[in-house]
Protein backbone atom coordinates (compact mmCIF):
# COMPACT_ATOMS: atom_id res chain seq x y z
CA UNK A 1 0.00 0.00 0.00
CA UNK A 2 1.54 3.27 -1.06
CA UNK A 3 1.90 5.74 1.80
CA UNK A 4 -0.67 8.46 1.42
CA UNK A 5 -0.14 12.02 2.48
CA UNK A 6 -1.80 12.63 5.83
CA UNK A 7 -2.39 16.35 5.52
CA UNK A 8 -5.82 17.19 4.25
CA UNK A 9 -5.83 18.65 0.74
CA UNK A 10 -7.51 22.04 1.16
CA UNK A 11 -8.40 22.09 -2.53
CA UNK A 12 -10.98 19.39 -1.81
CA UNK A 13 -12.71 21.52 0.80
CA UNK A 14 -12.49 24.61 -1.37
CA UNK A 15 -14.08 23.04 -4.43
CA UNK A 16 -16.64 21.07 -2.49
CA UNK A 17 -17.63 24.31 -0.76
CA UNK A 18 -17.99 26.05 -4.12
CA UNK A 19 -19.95 23.07 -5.48
CA UNK A 20 -22.36 23.36 -2.54
CA UNK A 21 -22.90 27.04 -3.31
CA UNK A 22 -23.57 26.25 -6.96
CA UNK A 23 -26.01 23.47 -6.04
CA UNK A 24 -27.84 25.95 -3.80
CA UNK A 25 -28.04 28.54 -6.61
CA UNK A 26 -29.22 25.92 -9.12
CA UNK A 27 -31.91 24.68 -6.73
CA UNK A 28 -33.66 28.04 -6.50
CA UNK A 29 -36.24 27.93 -9.30
CA UNK A 30 -36.09 30.75 -11.86
CA UNK A 31 -33.05 32.29 -10.20
CA UNK A 32 -31.23 34.69 -12.51
CA UNK A 33 -28.04 34.25 -10.46
CA UNK A 34 -27.88 30.57 -11.41
CA UNK A 35 -26.69 31.73 -14.82
CA UNK A 36 -23.19 31.92 -13.36
CA UNK A 37 -23.11 28.23 -12.44
CA UNK A 38 -21.05 25.79 -14.48
CA UNK A 39 -23.95 23.64 -15.68
CA UNK A 40 -24.75 26.43 -18.16
CA UNK A 41 -21.35 26.31 -19.81
CA UNK A 42 -20.71 22.65 -20.42
CA UNK A 43 -21.95 19.12 -19.89
CA UNK A 44 -21.20 18.42 -16.23
CA UNK A 45 -22.33 20.39 -13.18
CA UNK A 46 -21.69 20.77 -9.46
CA UNK A 47 -23.08 17.29 -8.75
CA UNK A 48 -20.05 15.64 -10.34
CA UNK A 49 -17.70 17.77 -8.24
CA UNK A 50 -19.64 16.94 -5.09
CA UNK A 51 -19.76 13.18 -5.70
CA UNK A 52 -16.10 12.90 -6.74
CA UNK A 53 -14.83 14.88 -3.74
CA UNK A 54 -17.14 12.99 -1.41
CA UNK A 55 -15.62 9.72 -2.65
CA UNK A 56 -12.15 11.15 -2.22
CA UNK A 57 -12.69 12.32 1.36
CA UNK A 58 -14.59 9.16 2.33
CA UNK A 59 -11.59 7.07 1.28
CA UNK A 60 -9.26 9.49 3.02
CA UNK A 61 -11.06 9.39 6.37
CA UNK A 62 -12.39 5.80 6.42
CA UNK A 63 -9.36 4.36 4.65
CA UNK A 64 -7.22 5.46 7.55
CA UNK A 65 -9.78 4.10 10.01
CA UNK A 66 -9.74 0.77 8.20
CA UNK A 67 -5.95 0.55 8.32
CA UNK A 68 -5.79 1.50 12.01
CA UNK A 69 -8.89 -0.10 13.47
CA UNK A 70 -9.86 -2.77 11.00
CA UNK A 71 -12.72 -3.50 8.67
CA UNK A 72 -15.50 -3.81 11.27
CA UNK A 73 -14.87 -0.49 12.98
CA UNK A 74 -14.45 1.42 9.72
CA UNK A 75 -17.60 -0.15 8.27
CA UNK A 76 -19.56 0.71 11.39
CA UNK A 77 -18.50 4.33 10.99
CA UNK A 78 -19.44 4.43 7.32
CA UNK A 79 -22.86 3.01 8.15
CA UNK A 80 -23.30 5.53 10.94
CA UNK A 81 -22.61 8.26 8.43
CA UNK A 82 -25.18 6.78 6.05
CA UNK A 83 -27.70 6.81 8.90
CA UNK A 84 -26.97 10.50 9.62
CA UNK A 85 -27.59 11.31 5.98
CA UNK A 86 -30.85 9.36 6.05
CA UNK A 87 -32.02 11.35 9.06
CA UNK A 88 -31.06 14.57 7.28
CA UNK A 89 -33.05 13.49 4.24
CA UNK A 90 -36.16 12.78 6.30
CA UNK A 91 -35.78 16.16 7.98
CA UNK A 92 -35.67 17.88 4.59
CA UNK A 93 -38.70 15.90 3.48
CA UNK A 94 -40.64 17.25 6.44
CA UNK A 95 -39.82 20.80 5.31
CA UNK A 96 -40.84 19.94 1.77
CA UNK A 97 -44.20 18.61 3.00
CA UNK A 98 -44.76 21.79 4.96
CA UNK A 99 -44.11 23.91 1.88
CA UNK A 100 -46.44 21.85 -0.30
CA UNK A 101 -49.17 21.92 2.31
CA UNK A 102 -48.83 25.69 2.51
CA UNK A 103 -49.12 26.13 -1.26
CA UNK A 104 -52.11 23.77 -1.38
CA UNK A 105 -53.78 25.89 1.26
CA UNK A 106 -53.01 29.34 -0.13
CA UNK A 107 -52.73 29.16 -3.91
CA UNK A 108 -55.51 29.00 -6.40
CA UNK A 109 -55.52 30.00 -10.06
CA UNK A 110 -57.74 28.68 -12.86
CA UNK A 111 -54.75 28.80 -15.22
CA UNK A 112 -53.01 26.11 -13.18
CA UNK A 113 -55.81 23.66 -12.39
CA UNK A 114 -53.76 20.83 -13.84
CA UNK A 115 -50.50 21.71 -12.10
CA UNK A 116 -52.22 21.94 -8.72
CA UNK A 117 -52.92 18.23 -9.10
CA UNK A 118 -49.38 17.66 -7.86
CA UNK A 119 -50.74 18.44 -4.40
CA UNK A 120 -53.15 15.53 -4.60
CA UNK A 121 -50.73 13.27 -2.82
CA UNK A 122 -51.60 15.20 0.34
CA UNK A 123 -54.90 13.34 0.15
CA UNK A 124 -53.15 10.05 0.94
CA UNK A 125 -50.18 11.03 3.08
CA UNK A 126 -49.87 7.51 4.48
CA UNK A 127 -48.61 6.18 1.16
CA UNK A 128 -46.47 9.21 0.30
CA UNK A 129 -44.72 9.42 3.65
CA UNK A 130 -44.03 5.70 3.67
CA UNK A 131 -42.63 5.87 0.13
CA UNK A 132 -40.46 8.82 1.17
CA UNK A 133 -39.12 6.87 4.16
CA UNK A 134 -38.04 4.00 1.92
CA UNK A 135 -36.49 6.59 -0.43
CA UNK A 136 -38.79 5.85 -3.35
CA UNK A 137 -40.74 9.10 -3.40
CA UNK A 138 -38.50 11.74 -4.87
CA UNK A 139 -39.28 15.37 -4.15
CA UNK A 140 -37.75 17.78 -6.68
CA UNK A 141 -34.14 18.69 -5.85
CA UNK A 142 -33.79 16.14 -3.07
CA UNK A 143 -32.07 13.43 -5.05
CA UNK A 144 -28.44 13.81 -3.98
CA UNK A 145 -28.83 12.50 -0.43
CA UNK A 146 -30.48 9.17 -1.37
CA UNK A 147 -27.65 8.67 -3.88
CA UNK A 148 -25.10 9.42 -1.17
CA UNK A 149 -26.76 6.94 1.21
CA UNK A 150 -26.61 4.10 -1.32
CA UNK A 151 -23.01 4.94 -2.23
CA UNK A 152 -22.00 4.76 1.43
CA UNK A 153 -23.88 1.51 2.11
CA UNK A 154 -21.89 -0.05 -0.66
CA UNK A 155 -18.61 1.59 0.32
CA UNK A 156 -17.10 -0.69 3.04
CA UNK A 157 -16.44 -3.71 0.78
CA UNK A 158 -15.38 -1.36 -2.01
CA UNK A 159 -12.93 0.40 0.28
CA UNK A 160 -11.55 -2.94 1.43
CA UNK A 161 -10.99 -3.93 -2.18
CA UNK A 162 -9.56 -0.52 -3.10
CA UNK A 163 -6.92 -0.89 -0.39
CA UNK A 164 -5.83 -4.31 -1.62
CA UNK A 165 -6.08 -4.17 -5.39
CA UNK A 166 -6.99 -0.60 -6.36
CA UNK A 167 -6.85 -1.19 -10.11
CA UNK A 168 -9.09 -4.25 -9.85
CA UNK A 169 -11.58 -2.33 -7.72
CA UNK A 170 -11.70 0.56 -10.17
CA UNK A 171 -12.11 -1.82 -13.09
CA UNK A 172 -14.99 -3.52 -11.26
CA UNK A 173 -16.65 -0.17 -10.73
CA UNK A 174 -16.27 0.69 -14.42
CA UNK A 175 -17.68 -2.72 -15.35
CA UNK A 176 -20.76 -2.09 -13.18
CA UNK A 177 -21.16 1.28 -14.91
CA UNK A 178 -20.94 -0.35 -18.35
CA UNK A 179 -23.37 -3.14 -17.43
CA UNK A 180 -25.80 -0.54 -16.09
CA UNK A 181 -25.82 1.17 -19.48
CA UNK A 182 -26.05 -2.11 -21.31
CA UNK A 183 -28.90 -3.63 -19.29
CA UNK A 184 -30.65 -0.38 -18.23
CA UNK A 185 -30.35 -1.15 -14.54
CA UNK A 186 -31.96 1.42 -12.30
CA UNK A 187 -33.76 1.94 -9.01
CA UNK A 188 -37.54 2.36 -9.32
CA UNK A 189 -39.21 5.40 -7.83
CA UNK A 190 -42.72 6.17 -6.62
CA UNK A 191 -45.24 6.76 -8.20
CA UNK A 192 -43.41 6.09 -11.48
CA UNK A 193 -40.05 6.38 -13.15
CA UNK A 194 -36.63 5.86 -11.66
CA UNK A 195 -34.23 7.65 -9.32
CA UNK A 196 -32.94 10.92 -10.73
CA UNK A 197 -29.35 9.86 -9.99
CA UNK A 198 -28.81 6.20 -10.81
CA UNK A 199 -26.43 4.88 -8.11
CA UNK A 200 -25.22 2.03 -10.34
CA UNK A 201 -23.84 4.65 -12.73
CA UNK A 202 -22.83 7.42 -10.33
CA UNK A 203 -20.82 5.00 -8.15
CA UNK A 204 -18.10 5.18 -10.81
CA UNK A 205 -17.28 8.78 -9.96
CA UNK A 206 -17.42 8.10 -6.21
CA UNK A 207 -15.11 5.10 -6.51
CA UNK A 208 -12.82 7.00 -8.85
CA UNK A 209 -12.57 9.75 -6.20
CA UNK A 210 -11.74 7.12 -3.57
CA UNK A 211 -9.20 5.51 -5.89
CA UNK A 212 -7.49 8.89 -6.39
CA UNK A 213 -7.35 9.44 -2.63
CA UNK A 214 -5.67 6.07 -2.05
CA UNK A 215 -2.68 6.79 -4.25
CA UNK A 216 -4.34 6.87 -7.65
CA UNK A 217 -3.82 10.61 -7.99
CA UNK A 218 -0.03 10.15 -7.71
CA UNK A 219 -0.13 7.38 -10.30
CA UNK A 220 -2.07 9.63 -12.63
CA UNK A 221 0.22 12.61 -12.09
CA UNK A 222 2.40 11.64 -15.04
CA UNK A 223 -0.68 11.98 -17.25
CA UNK A 224 -2.37 14.93 -15.63
CA UNK A 225 0.84 16.98 -15.88
CA UNK A 226 1.33 16.16 -19.53
CA UNK A 227 0.93 19.10 -21.89
CA UNK A 228 -0.93 16.98 -24.40
CA UNK A 229 -3.54 15.97 -21.83
CA UNK A 230 -3.94 19.54 -20.62
CA UNK A 231 -4.48 20.79 -24.18
CA UNK A 232 -6.93 17.99 -24.90
CA UNK A 233 -8.84 18.85 -21.73
CA UNK A 234 -8.94 22.52 -22.66
CA UNK A 235 -10.13 21.68 -26.17
CA UNK A 236 -12.89 19.45 -24.82
CA UNK A 237 -14.06 22.15 -22.39
CA UNK A 238 -14.24 24.61 -25.30
CA UNK A 239 -16.19 22.10 -27.37
CA UNK A 240 -18.68 21.58 -24.52
CA UNK A 241 -18.95 25.34 -24.12
CA UNK A 242 -19.73 25.78 -27.81
CA UNK A 243 -22.43 23.09 -27.66
CA UNK A 244 -23.88 24.61 -24.50
CA UNK A 245 -24.23 27.96 -26.25
CA UNK A 246 -26.54 26.37 -28.84
CA UNK A 247 -28.95 25.56 -25.97
CA UNK A 248 -29.49 29.24 -25.24
CA UNK A 249 -29.24 30.59 -28.74
CA UNK A 250 -31.25 28.07 -30.80
CA UNK A 251 -30.25 29.88 -33.98
CA UNK A 252 -26.70 28.64 -33.42
CA UNK A 253 -27.97 25.06 -33.40
CA UNK A 254 -27.86 24.93 -37.20
CA UNK A 255 -24.06 24.90 -36.94
CA UNK A 256 -24.14 21.59 -35.07
CA UNK A 257 -23.92 18.86 -37.71
CA UNK A 258 -26.76 16.35 -37.62
CA UNK A 259 -24.44 13.40 -37.15
CA UNK A 260 -22.78 15.08 -34.17
CA UNK A 261 -26.11 15.96 -32.58
CA UNK A 262 -27.32 12.39 -33.04
CA UNK A 263 -24.13 11.12 -31.41
CA UNK A 264 -24.15 13.33 -28.33
CA UNK A 265 -27.83 13.80 -27.49
CA UNK A 266 -29.42 13.17 -25.14
CA UNK A 267 -26.75 13.91 -22.55
CA UNK A 268 -28.00 11.65 -19.81
CA UNK A 269 -27.62 12.99 -16.27
CA UNK A 270 -29.50 10.15 -14.57
CA UNK A 271 -26.96 7.59 -15.81
CA UNK A 272 -23.93 9.90 -15.72
CA UNK A 273 -23.30 10.18 -19.45
CA UNK A 274 -19.73 9.55 -20.60
CA UNK A 275 -19.71 13.09 -22.04
CA UNK A 276 -20.34 14.40 -18.54
CA UNK A 277 -17.57 12.29 -17.00
CA UNK A 278 -15.05 13.47 -19.59
CA UNK A 279 -16.13 17.05 -19.06
CA UNK A 280 -15.67 16.72 -15.31
CA UNK A 281 -12.27 15.05 -15.75
CA UNK A 282 -11.19 17.82 -18.12
CA UNK A 283 -12.21 20.46 -15.61
CA UNK A 284 -10.33 18.54 -12.90
CA UNK A 285 -7.16 18.32 -15.01
CA UNK A 286 -7.21 22.04 -15.72
CA UNK A 287 -8.00 22.88 -12.10
CA UNK A 288 -5.19 20.74 -10.71
CA UNK A 289 -2.84 22.37 -13.17
CA UNK A 290 -3.83 25.91 -12.17
CA UNK A 291 -4.20 25.30 -8.43
CA UNK A 292 -1.27 23.38 -6.92
CA UNK A 293 -1.86 21.53 -3.69
CA UNK A 294 0.59 23.65 -1.67
CA UNK A 295 -0.59 26.97 -3.05
CA UNK A 296 -0.36 29.26 0.02
CA UNK A 297 -3.39 31.30 -1.09
CA UNK A 298 -5.54 28.28 -0.21
CA UNK A 299 -5.08 29.19 3.44
CA UNK A 300 -5.91 32.84 2.87
CA UNK A 301 -9.04 34.42 4.37
CA UNK A 302 -10.45 35.02 0.88
CA UNK A 303 -10.96 31.29 0.37
CA UNK A 304 -11.96 30.51 3.92
CA UNK A 305 -15.75 30.88 3.37
CA UNK A 306 -15.78 28.17 0.69
CA UNK A 307 -13.31 25.96 2.56
CA UNK A 308 -15.32 26.00 5.77
CA UNK A 309 -18.51 25.09 3.87
CA UNK A 310 -16.68 22.22 2.16
CA UNK A 311 -15.47 20.95 5.52
CA UNK A 312 -19.02 20.57 6.80
CA UNK A 313 -20.60 19.41 3.61
CA UNK A 314 -23.61 17.45 4.88
CA UNK A 315 -24.86 20.26 7.10
CA UNK A 316 -24.17 22.87 4.42
CA UNK A 317 -25.89 20.81 1.74
CA UNK A 318 -29.04 20.31 3.82
CA UNK A 319 -29.13 23.95 4.79
CA UNK A 320 -28.76 24.82 1.10
CA UNK A 321 -31.80 22.72 0.16
CA UNK A 322 -33.83 24.39 2.88
CA UNK A 323 -32.62 27.86 1.87
CA UNK A 324 -33.55 27.16 -1.74
CA UNK A 325 -37.11 26.41 -0.61
CA UNK A 326 -37.10 29.58 1.47
CA UNK A 327 -35.76 31.64 -1.45
CA UNK A 328 -38.49 30.34 -3.75
CA UNK A 329 -41.01 31.23 -1.07
CA UNK A 330 -39.66 34.79 -0.91
CA UNK A 331 -39.79 35.11 -4.69
CA UNK A 332 -43.43 34.05 -4.84
CA UNK A 333 -44.64 35.90 -1.76
CA UNK A 334 -42.68 39.15 -1.89
CA UNK A 335 -40.80 39.92 -5.06
CA UNK A 336 -38.92 38.19 -7.82
CA UNK A 337 -37.14 41.24 -9.17
CA UNK A 338 -33.58 40.77 -10.34
CA UNK A 339 -32.28 42.73 -7.34
CA UNK A 340 -34.19 40.49 -4.91
CA UNK A 341 -32.79 37.42 -6.64
CA UNK A 342 -29.22 38.68 -6.28
CA UNK A 343 -29.70 39.70 -2.65
CA UNK A 344 -31.42 36.42 -1.72
CA UNK A 345 -28.71 34.37 -3.46
CA UNK A 346 -25.90 36.21 -1.69
CA UNK A 347 -27.70 36.11 1.65
CA UNK A 348 -28.21 32.36 1.27
CA UNK A 349 -24.51 31.79 0.71
CA UNK A 350 -23.69 34.04 3.68
CA UNK A 351 -26.02 31.98 5.88
CA UNK A 352 -24.37 28.76 4.68
CA UNK A 353 -20.93 30.17 5.54
CA UNK A 354 -22.13 31.43 8.91
CA UNK A 355 -23.63 28.05 9.80
CA UNK A 356 -20.50 26.17 8.72
CA UNK A 357 -18.35 28.53 10.80
CA UNK A 358 -20.63 27.96 13.78
CA UNK A 359 -20.28 24.19 13.40
CA UNK A 360 -16.49 24.57 13.25
CA UNK A 361 -16.60 26.59 16.42
CA UNK A 362 -18.75 23.97 18.16
CA UNK A 363 -16.30 21.26 17.18
CA UNK A 364 -13.43 23.27 18.59
CA UNK A 365 -15.26 23.91 21.85
CA UNK A 366 -16.16 20.27 22.18
CA UNK A 367 -12.63 19.20 21.42
CA UNK A 368 -11.37 21.40 24.28
CA UNK A 369 -8.51 23.88 24.34
CA UNK A 370 -5.23 23.30 22.61
CA UNK A 371 -4.01 23.52 19.06
CA UNK A 372 -5.79 21.69 16.32
CA UNK A 373 -3.97 18.48 15.39
CA UNK A 374 -2.04 18.77 12.15
CA UNK A 375 -3.85 16.00 10.39
CA UNK A 376 -7.54 15.42 10.37
CA UNK A 377 -8.78 13.51 13.36
CA UNK A 378 -10.98 10.64 12.23
CA UNK A 379 -13.61 11.51 14.83
CA UNK A 380 -16.17 8.87 15.53
CA UNK A 381 -18.96 11.08 14.32
CA UNK A 382 -17.46 10.33 10.93
CA UNK A 383 -16.98 14.00 10.23
CA UNK A 384 -16.09 15.38 6.86
CA UNK A 385 -16.42 12.25 4.84
Amino acid sequence: MAPVSTERDLRLDLFRGIALWLIFLDHIPSNAVSWITIRNYGFSDATEIFVFISGYTAAFVYGRAMREHGFIVASARVLKRAWQIYVAHVFLFAIYLAEIAYVAHSFDNPLYTEEMGVLDFLKNPDVTIFQALILKFKPVNMDVLPLYIVLLLWFPPMLWLLQRTPSFALAGSALLYALTWWFDWSIPAYPAGTWVFNPFAWQLLFVFGAWCALGGAQRLARWTNSRVVIWLAAAYILFAFAIAMTWYFPRLAVFVPHALADAIYPIDKTNLDVLRIVHFLSLAVITVWFVPRDWPVLKSPAFWPAVVCGQHSLETFCLGVFLAFAAHFLFTEISNSLLTQIIVSLAGIAIMVGAAALISWYRQVERGPGPRPPSIEPGYAGRDA
Partner: protein
Protein backbone atom coordinates in the same frame (compact mmCIF):
# COMPACT_ATOMS: atom_id res chain seq x y z
CA UNK B 1 -32.42 35.75 -18.70
CA UNK B 2 -31.58 39.45 -18.94
CA UNK B 3 -29.94 38.82 -22.25
CA UNK B 4 -33.07 37.24 -23.58
CA UNK B 5 -35.21 40.09 -22.30
CA UNK B 6 -33.00 42.68 -23.98
CA UNK B 7 -32.98 40.69 -27.17
CA UNK B 8 -36.75 40.56 -27.05
CA UNK B 9 -37.04 44.30 -26.59
CA UNK B 10 -34.63 44.92 -29.44
CA UNK B 11 -36.59 42.62 -31.73
CA UNK B 12 -39.82 44.20 -30.59
CA UNK B 13 -38.62 47.51 -31.95
CA UNK B 14 -38.13 45.76 -35.28
CA UNK B 15 -41.42 43.86 -35.20
CA UNK B 16 -43.39 44.92 -38.18
CA UNK B 17 -46.84 46.31 -38.81
CA UNK B 18 -47.93 42.80 -39.76
CA UNK B 19 -48.78 42.51 -36.09
CA UNK B 20 -51.35 45.23 -36.11
CA UNK B 21 -54.20 43.04 -34.92
CA UNK B 22 -52.16 41.28 -32.25
CA UNK B 23 -52.38 42.83 -28.74
CA UNK B 24 -49.01 44.18 -27.57
CA UNK B 25 -49.07 41.87 -24.57
CA UNK B 26 -48.98 38.83 -26.82
CA UNK B 27 -46.57 40.34 -29.29
CA UNK B 28 -43.82 40.54 -26.67
CA UNK B 29 -43.27 36.81 -27.10
CA UNK B 30 -43.11 36.95 -30.88
CA UNK B 31 -39.32 36.29 -31.11
CA UNK B 32 -39.93 33.02 -29.25
CA UNK B 33 -41.99 31.71 -32.15
CA UNK B 34 -39.68 29.66 -34.33
CA UNK B 35 -41.11 28.08 -37.46
CA UNK B 36 -38.01 26.18 -38.49
CA UNK B 37 -39.93 23.31 -40.00
CA UNK B 38 -42.62 23.45 -42.68
CA UNK B 39 -46.15 22.07 -42.45
CA UNK B 40 -46.67 20.64 -45.97
CA UNK B 41 -50.02 18.97 -45.27
CA UNK B 42 -51.41 22.20 -43.83
CA UNK B 43 -50.12 23.96 -46.95
CA UNK B 44 -52.16 21.61 -49.12
CA UNK B 45 -55.21 22.00 -46.92
CA UNK B 46 -55.02 25.78 -47.17
CA UNK B 47 -54.79 25.52 -50.95
CA UNK B 48 -57.99 23.44 -50.84
CA UNK B 49 -59.58 26.09 -48.58
CA UNK B 50 -60.35 23.66 -45.79
CA UNK B 51 -58.26 23.14 -42.64
CA UNK B 52 -59.21 20.47 -40.09
CA UNK B 53 -57.34 20.66 -36.82
CA UNK B 54 -57.21 18.10 -34.03
CA UNK B 55 -56.05 19.42 -30.65
CA UNK B 56 -54.76 16.69 -28.34
CA UNK B 57 -54.05 17.83 -24.82
CA UNK B 58 -54.45 17.60 -21.08
CA UNK B 59 -55.79 20.04 -18.49
CA UNK B 60 -53.79 23.06 -19.58
CA UNK B 61 -55.51 23.02 -22.99
CA UNK B 62 -58.77 23.97 -21.33
CA UNK B 63 -60.20 26.51 -18.92
CA UNK B 64 -62.79 25.86 -16.21
CA UNK B 65 -66.29 27.30 -16.13
CA UNK B 66 -69.15 27.66 -18.60
CA UNK B 67 -67.15 30.00 -20.90
CA UNK B 68 -64.04 27.86 -20.64
CA UNK B 69 -64.38 26.09 -23.97
CA UNK B 70 -64.88 29.40 -25.82
CA UNK B 71 -61.89 31.10 -24.18
CA UNK B 72 -59.32 28.31 -24.03
CA UNK B 73 -56.51 28.45 -26.55
CA UNK B 74 -57.85 25.86 -29.05
CA UNK B 75 -60.95 27.99 -29.70
CA UNK B 76 -58.84 31.17 -29.76
CA UNK B 77 -56.58 29.53 -32.32
CA UNK B 78 -59.54 28.66 -34.51
CA UNK B 79 -60.80 32.22 -34.18
CA UNK B 80 -57.46 33.77 -35.14
CA UNK B 81 -57.01 31.43 -38.10
CA UNK B 82 -60.53 32.14 -39.39
CA UNK B 83 -59.80 35.87 -39.19
CA UNK B 84 -56.46 35.67 -40.91
CA UNK B 85 -57.32 33.09 -43.56
CA UNK B 86 -60.38 34.50 -45.28
CA UNK B 87 -62.14 31.93 -47.41
CA UNK B 88 -60.67 28.97 -45.57
CA UNK B 89 -63.03 26.79 -43.58
CA UNK B 90 -61.22 26.11 -40.28
CA UNK B 91 -62.73 23.33 -38.18
CA UNK B 92 -61.60 22.13 -34.80
CA UNK B 93 -61.85 18.78 -33.01
CA UNK B 94 -60.82 18.45 -29.37
CA UNK B 95 -59.24 15.45 -27.70
CA UNK B 96 -58.60 17.16 -24.38
CA UNK B 97 -58.82 15.54 -20.98
CA UNK B 98 -56.92 16.53 -17.86
CA UNK B 99 -54.49 14.28 -16.03
CA UNK B 100 -53.12 12.44 -19.06
CA UNK B 101 -49.50 11.60 -19.72
CA UNK B 102 -48.07 11.56 -23.24
CA UNK B 103 -48.28 7.78 -23.29
CA UNK B 104 -51.96 7.81 -22.29
CA UNK B 105 -52.70 10.31 -25.05
CA UNK B 106 -50.87 8.23 -27.63
CA UNK B 107 -53.31 5.37 -26.98
CA UNK B 108 -56.22 7.59 -28.08
CA UNK B 109 -54.51 9.02 -31.16
CA UNK B 110 -55.34 6.44 -33.82
CA UNK B 111 -59.16 6.53 -33.39
CA UNK B 112 -59.16 10.30 -32.89
CA UNK B 113 -57.18 10.84 -36.10
CA UNK B 114 -59.38 8.34 -37.90
CA UNK B 115 -62.52 10.23 -36.90
CA UNK B 116 -61.30 13.79 -37.49
CA UNK B 117 -58.99 13.22 -40.49
CA UNK B 118 -57.10 16.44 -39.68
CA UNK B 119 -54.34 18.06 -41.72
CA UNK B 120 -52.85 19.29 -38.46
CA UNK B 121 -52.55 17.72 -35.04
CA UNK B 122 -51.64 20.12 -32.24
CA UNK B 123 -50.30 18.13 -29.32
CA UNK B 124 -49.98 19.68 -25.89
CA UNK B 125 -48.26 17.44 -23.34
CA UNK B 126 -45.48 17.15 -20.74
CA UNK B 127 -47.17 18.57 -17.64
CA UNK B 128 -48.62 15.37 -16.24
CA UNK B 129 -45.47 13.45 -17.18
CA UNK B 130 -43.46 15.91 -15.09
CA UNK B 131 -45.91 15.70 -12.20
CA UNK B 132 -45.64 11.91 -12.16
CA UNK B 133 -41.89 11.96 -12.86
CA UNK B 134 -42.39 9.61 -15.79
CA UNK B 135 -39.13 8.06 -16.94
CA UNK B 136 -37.67 10.52 -19.45
CA UNK B 137 -36.80 7.83 -21.99
CA UNK B 138 -40.37 6.59 -21.82
CA UNK B 139 -41.67 10.14 -22.30
CA UNK B 140 -39.42 10.66 -25.31
CA UNK B 141 -40.49 7.32 -26.81
CA UNK B 142 -44.17 8.28 -26.39
CA UNK B 143 -43.56 11.57 -28.22
CA UNK B 144 -41.75 9.83 -31.07
CA UNK B 145 -44.53 7.25 -31.29
CA UNK B 146 -47.32 9.84 -31.30
CA UNK B 147 -45.66 11.92 -34.01
CA UNK B 148 -45.21 8.81 -36.16
CA UNK B 149 -48.90 7.88 -35.77
CA UNK B 150 -50.01 11.38 -36.77
CA UNK B 151 -47.70 11.50 -39.77
CA UNK B 152 -48.85 8.13 -41.04
CA UNK B 153 -52.46 9.30 -40.65
CA UNK B 154 -51.65 12.23 -42.95
CA UNK B 155 -51.45 14.97 -40.33
CA UNK B 156 -48.71 17.51 -39.64
CA UNK B 157 -47.78 17.93 -35.99
CA UNK B 158 -47.13 20.98 -33.83
CA UNK B 159 -45.97 20.23 -30.27
CA UNK B 160 -46.80 22.42 -27.27
CA UNK B 161 -44.85 21.96 -24.06
CA UNK B 162 -45.91 22.65 -20.47
CA UNK B 163 -47.02 25.97 -19.05
CA UNK B 164 -44.52 27.89 -16.99
CA UNK B 165 -45.89 27.63 -13.45
CA UNK B 166 -43.77 29.63 -10.97
CA UNK B 167 -45.76 28.68 -7.84
CA UNK B 168 -45.23 24.98 -8.24
CA UNK B 169 -41.67 25.18 -9.53
CA UNK B 170 -40.12 23.66 -6.46
CA UNK B 171 -42.48 20.69 -6.76
CA UNK B 172 -42.68 19.85 -10.47
CA UNK B 173 -39.63 19.63 -12.75
CA UNK B 174 -41.57 21.03 -15.72
CA UNK B 175 -38.44 22.49 -17.30
CA UNK B 176 -36.82 19.09 -17.81
CA UNK B 177 -39.80 17.79 -19.78
CA UNK B 178 -40.19 21.04 -21.73
CA UNK B 179 -36.54 20.66 -22.71
CA UNK B 180 -37.03 17.07 -23.88
CA UNK B 181 -39.86 18.27 -26.10
CA UNK B 182 -37.52 20.84 -27.66
CA UNK B 183 -35.12 18.09 -28.60
CA UNK B 184 -37.77 15.74 -29.91
CA UNK B 185 -39.21 18.53 -32.05
CA UNK B 186 -35.76 19.25 -33.44
CA UNK B 187 -35.00 15.60 -34.14
CA UNK B 188 -38.40 14.87 -35.67
CA UNK B 189 -38.35 18.18 -37.55
CA UNK B 190 -41.75 19.31 -36.34
CA UNK B 191 -42.48 22.85 -35.10
CA UNK B 192 -42.60 23.33 -31.34
CA UNK B 193 -44.71 26.01 -29.72
CA UNK B 194 -42.46 26.69 -26.73
CA UNK B 195 -45.20 27.66 -24.31
CA UNK B 196 -42.85 27.21 -21.34
CA UNK B 197 -40.35 29.83 -22.57
CA UNK B 198 -43.07 32.17 -23.77
CA UNK B 199 -44.88 32.18 -20.44
CA UNK B 200 -41.59 32.49 -18.58
CA UNK B 201 -40.82 35.55 -20.66
CA UNK B 202 -44.24 37.03 -19.84
CA UNK B 203 -43.58 36.41 -16.16
CA UNK B 204 -40.08 37.95 -16.34
CA UNK B 205 -41.31 41.02 -18.18
CA UNK B 206 -44.32 41.40 -15.93
CA UNK B 207 -46.70 41.07 -18.90
CA UNK B 208 -48.88 38.69 -16.90
CA UNK B 209 -48.75 38.13 -13.17
CA UNK B 210 -48.47 34.35 -13.07
CA UNK B 211 -47.90 34.34 -9.31
CA UNK B 212 -51.24 35.77 -8.30
CA UNK B 213 -53.58 33.65 -6.22
CA UNK B 214 -57.04 34.25 -7.61
CA UNK B 215 -60.25 32.51 -8.54
CA UNK B 216 -60.89 35.01 -11.32
CA UNK B 217 -60.46 33.97 -14.90
CA UNK B 218 -59.28 37.24 -16.49
CA UNK B 219 -55.52 36.56 -16.52
CA UNK B 220 -56.03 32.93 -17.52
CA UNK B 221 -58.25 34.01 -20.41
CA UNK B 222 -55.76 36.62 -21.64
CA UNK B 223 -52.95 34.07 -21.51
CA UNK B 224 -54.98 31.56 -23.51
CA UNK B 225 -56.00 34.25 -26.00
CA UNK B 226 -52.35 35.17 -26.61
CA UNK B 227 -51.36 31.53 -26.93
CA UNK B 228 -54.12 30.98 -29.50
CA UNK B 229 -53.05 34.01 -31.54
CA UNK B 230 -49.34 33.20 -31.43
CA UNK B 231 -50.08 29.60 -32.32
CA UNK B 232 -52.10 30.78 -35.33
CA UNK B 233 -49.14 32.90 -36.39
CA UNK B 234 -46.82 29.89 -36.11
CA UNK B 235 -49.16 27.70 -38.19
CA UNK B 236 -49.59 30.33 -40.92
CA UNK B 237 -45.85 31.09 -41.15
CA UNK B 238 -44.86 27.42 -41.18
CA UNK B 239 -47.40 26.67 -43.92
CA UNK B 240 -46.27 29.46 -46.25
CA UNK B 241 -45.32 27.85 -49.55
CA UNK B 242 -42.71 30.31 -50.81
CA UNK B 243 -40.73 31.04 -47.67
CA UNK B 244 -37.41 29.30 -47.12
CA UNK B 245 -37.75 27.63 -43.73
CA UNK B 246 -34.18 26.59 -43.13
CA UNK B 247 -33.18 29.85 -41.47
CA UNK B 248 -35.81 29.59 -38.76
CA UNK B 249 -36.86 32.43 -36.50
CA UNK B 250 -38.39 35.44 -38.10
Amino acid sequence: MMGRVLLTLALLALAGPAWAEMPATCRVAEPQIAHDFPLPRVMHALAAKRLDILVVGAGSSSLPGPTGAKNAFPARLQNALTEQLPGVDVSLTLNVKSGRTAEQMVKTLAPALQAAKPALMIWQTGTVDAMQSIDTDQFKAALDHGIAIAHSAGADVVLINAQYSPRTESMIALGTYAEIMRWVALQQEVPLFDRFSIMKLWADLGTFDLYSATKKLDIAESVHDCIGRLLAELVIEAAKPDEPHAEGGR
